[in-house]
Symmetry: C2
Subunit: 358 residues, 2 copies
DNA sequence: ATTAGTAGTGAAAACGTTTGGATGAGTTAG
DNA sequence: CTAACTCATCCAAACGTTTTCACTACTAAT
């Protein structure tokens, strides 16, 4: 069957002439009530007798009525849109956040609109313009933006509800939803220590970054637990990129005291360490154990697959959406919510070499 | 500075009493013209003298006026929203598509709403529900969904404008925007042949998939160009996943005639081949050249960095948005648009081993 | 000078919902 | 039996645009 361009171009606008849009008026007429009553049913308001309510619902169902999103938006001055501001790092994580928030938002009749921040320096203006333009009813701020003190300071005076995911800086009045990466780092390190590792190194992101600090703290918690001191841990800092992981990995592996295990603050840097290990001819995990954070796809694609930490994205985003869309009378205790993370053990860690060799 | 929860909860709704929203009425009053004229300027319609237009624009600028998206949507019965349907594979590519479409869409006053298809089997229903719910004005279908004959067949009768990115199946009446991966595969292979490789292998996605067929065709074009035949190419098929690349890579490397170069239909599978090479102790690129497709981040993170093919995402999405939002009177020639792709040469390819050894 | 055509402008009517105040029907207290 | 009150319902007015159509003033052709 050949189709000629001219008869199949863009869909003919008037293709379904008979399909007249059914409005709330129509429903009201059919049900023999006023628009207002139908509106009440739509919005689950009280003031309608159970009998009438059931009747109206039945009529709506029968007519296949779907309230007009645009009209609702205008009249109620809500857009039924939620914004999600993000930075470009770690695409799979961003998409996870999106999927999680969408699932929750859609269930409540909302849609999620994403907005990429190109220049972190001018992030606040960028976000404000976006929110004004899109008319979103609320904003989700994802890491690493949610860590940016400057952005939050500039945004805190704005009118719309906000939530930040995995952000630190408790001194800003933006509610936050976090997961317990400190505890996760603790149990991760704990396993390494149990395996017999004593020469540990940590490659952090920037020293001032929240995730770096929290994950480092967790490692130190584990050291303390095993009666070790801060001296037993070599600490270096990267910037969460593959390249920085590679550089610091090389430095560590070529240094005087080579660690038997390297804990990285994210998977990208762990990938960099893999690269460094390949260059130095160091076998993972036989001669070097490596762990990451975030459980991004790269973690399973590295060889050998990387032990990492997975955060409960679905649950976190569901709560974020709920906080944004819920009625504004909300208990203050919601301002910080914390979830537990899960260590995903793979084949990048093993009992250290010397123990077997002895 | 300590902040108590009760005084910083959600932003007080009435915090800025003085900030009265400025409407089109206000602008009209200030400019001394009617609403209609302001509307004309907003929508770049003709019928306003240049002088008046400039004056109105100036007033709008001065007042910091931003037209209300909701009201526009209701009155014009457009939502000013564009949908982007996607599958979860290759997150970085999806975000690239998003960034590209957003850039173009925002410039035209549109926002982009993403929708993930969970179950490819029920994709059509899923998309239809999404479009009805969100009220998007148009839909962008991304690969691999844009290759799904079933989805397109079910969607083609719908009312909204659609565009598919990088999809095949010319027999469906949905306009498509592609890039020339066949030519890219040709020049990629051409370089390998020039380097002296004669034992070539190709790891495709599913044999029936459009990208597989086109990229394979490009390789064969190159073989023909160098006077070689189909027998000089070993062809195996995976499914675009890391795992399948690894399996097929192992099979190829452990087989009787080991190829000196493997062309993979995407980067994920190339990563799998790296894995296989590591397992077999085959050095890249000294003993084996490898190439990928898509230029995803993994391409630069592999060791050694992977030669790949980059498609002009920005330009493609800009066109997609333009096609969706433009007035419906459009030349039929727009139904298929093709862009050129770019080979990104990195360190995963080299002159084959035996030539140096001879 | 008259007429036809056209570019610029404006008043008013949609668009489909929510919202506030008014109306009417029951119910209870005096 | 009336007054006060509650509850369900309804009418009309927003909400801030676009759209339709009518009008004016100007130019060009007769």
């Amino acid at each position: 069957m050949v189709c000629r361009p001219e008869d199949v171009g863009f869909p003919a606008v008037g293709s379904g002439m008979s399909k007249k849009t059914i409005t709330i008026n129509e429903i009201a007429r059919l049900a023999g009530v006023s628009k207002k009553s139908v509106s009440r049913v739509l919005n689950d308001e009280q003031g309608v007798s159970d009998k009438t309510r059931a009747h109206i619902k039945h009529i709506m169902q029968e007519a296949g009525y779907e309230p007009d999103r645009r009209a609702r938006a205008l009249a109620s001055s809500r857009s039924l849109l939620l914004g999600l501001a993000y930075n470009n790092r770690n695409p799979s994580y961003i998409l996870d956040l999106l999927a999680g928030s969408q699932r929750a938002a859609n269930a409540l009749g909302y849609e999620v609109v994403m907005h990429q921040i190109a220049d972190e320096g001018a992030a606040a203006d960028d976000v404000i313009r976006f929110m004004r333009r899109s008319g979103c009813d609320g904003l989700i701020i994802t890491p690493p933006l949610s860590e940016s003190a400057r952005l939050l300071a500039d945004l805190v005076s704005e009118d719309w509800p906000m939530v930040r995911v995995a952000g630190d800086h408790a001194d800003f009045a933006v509610p936050q939803i976090r997961y317990n990466d400190r505890t996760a780092a603790l149990s991760l390190t704990n396993q390494l220590l149990k395996d017999g590792h004593r020469e540990l190194a940590f490659i952090g992101g920037p020293a001032a970054a929240g995730p770096t600090k929290r994950r480092l703290a967790g490692i130190q918690d584990a050291l303390t637990l095993h009666g070790l001191t801060a001296d037993d841990l070599t600490i270096v800092y990267g910037d969460f990129t593959f390249e920085s992981g590679k550089q610091q990995g090389l430095a560590l592996l070529q240094g005087s005291t080579r660690p038997s295990a390297i804990v990285c603050a994210n998977d990208e840097m762990a990938a960099g360490v893999y690269h460094a290990a390949a260059v130095c001819g160091v076998a993972i995990p036989a001669e070097l154990s490596v762990t990451g954070f975030d459980d991004s796809p790269v973690a399973s694609h590295l060889y050998p697959p990387l032990t990492s930490v997975r955060q409960p994205v679905q649950a976190m985003m569901a709560l974020a959406v709920q906080m944004l869309t819920g009625d504004s009378k909300r208990p203050p205790s919601d301002r910080i919510a914390q979830f537990d993370a899960e260590v995903v053990a793979r084949e990048s860690t093993a009992v250290p070499h010397p123990i077997n060799a002895d």
